[in-house]
Amino acid sequence: MTKVSLDFSDAVIRLSGVKLLEGETPEDAAVRGLAIIEERLQQFESEKKNNSKRISEILDVVMALASLDYTKRATLSETPDHIDAIAGGVNMLGEELQQSTVSLKEKEVLLREIHHRVKNNLQVISSLLNLQAGQINDKIARQHYEVSHERIRAMALVHEKLYQSKDLSGIDFGNYILSLTQSLNASCNPDAKRIRLVVDVDSETPVLKIDAAIPCALILNELIMNGFKHAFPGDRKGKITVSFKKIPGEDVRYELSVSDNGVGLPEGLDPFQSASLGLQLVTVLAEQVDATLTVLGEEGTAFVLTCKCPK
């Protein structure tokens, strides 16, 4: 290492860059130099403080963006430097995010509106079928209209739940079951004391996308109506239980079942080969959602559907 020997005045003169004036001693020049160094230090401290303030302001904007507030902007200085470049970039990102959020919200409003209109239109169709049914004298023909009315109403309810949902991507199926059973009990079960409808769903149920929600809704609608119609002939009393539960130990598999303690399926009837449109629908729709359908015939009838409901 080279040894450098400088006295204090020389060092100050070098660092400050002052030039020796004519007749001036190095000590006097060092005094001038010290004043310059002091001034530079003050300037440096002031710039440091100012830069720190500007960076804090940019950080405030970044934090606002992170909390989805896109309205904050950082101020740019009169002589743009690197910090202004960061501020300008953050400001422009904020503007872009604000714009994207606005257009996303507009699309969401539009989608909600579409589901609302679909629901309204389905309800109109359903009501028309119901009115038409009232004018038909033939019992079987009238029943066909009534069943179609309920099927369409079950679909309308999916759209209603969709536009009421938080993110429009799907519906809480447990909540749907509660609404559907309530509606069916009111419209298809005139003697609710004789046939009790019991609902047993997990407190936390999966959100089903519309592709899965509509078939599952129709299956459920079909099975409950079937129970009301056939399980308790005459004055026979009983109950229909609708259950929707996560299969213990399984991650995304759920069991949807509709069971009753009624008369059971007619002797020799294979529900998978039945000529009934309702049961055919149940079989086809179960395949559509890749579900396994099991029919149990001890003490009444139980339709058990096992399906995957990804989170």
């Binding site: 740019l76 743009p80 690197h82 202004d84 470049a85 300008g88 422009m92 604000q98 714009q99």
Partner: protein
């Protein structure tokens, strides 16, 4: 910048391109952007030319102005855009035009004026080939 100073200084280069220089510390808004577009169209007459935009001294440009220069949903008034940048701020703005606000015509960013001119001249010749 001085309020009376024009934001853009736009001229036609006889070699076949438009040259638009953004004034020092200019803060461009939609109105000014549209005004320049109108002037470029006037200069171009019945033709469409590439443009060299010098944004080296720019201070800011609004979202609406950026979207306007991206020319989405309207007939482009230029065939290509060369952006001349130097300051960190102009580089950031230039990069927005290469990413989020990408114009519908070929766009490139340069720090060297000669290279920018060369690219624009190539674009002129490509048009004529």
């Amino acid at each position: 910048m001085n309020n009376t100073e024009p934001i853009f200084e736009t001229t036609f280069d006889p070699r076949g391109f438009i040259l638009s220089r953004v004034a020092p510390l200019a803060e461009i808004d939609l109105e000014q952007a549209k005004e320049n577009t109108k002037y470029v169209r006037e200069l171009s007459g019945d033709n469409v030319y590439p443009i060299l935009v010098d944004i080296r001294k720019i201070r800011s440009i609004s979202k609406e102005a950026r979207d306007h220069f991206a020319m989405r949903g309207r007939k482009p008034g230029v065939t290509a855009i060369a952006m001349l940048v130097s300051s960190p701020l102009s580089r950031i703005i230039g990069n927005f035009f290469l990413g989020l606000n990408q114009p519908v015509v070929p766009t490139k960013m340069f720090t060297d004026r000669d290279m920018a001119e060369q690219w624009v001249l190539n674009a002129v010749h490509d048009e004529h080939d």
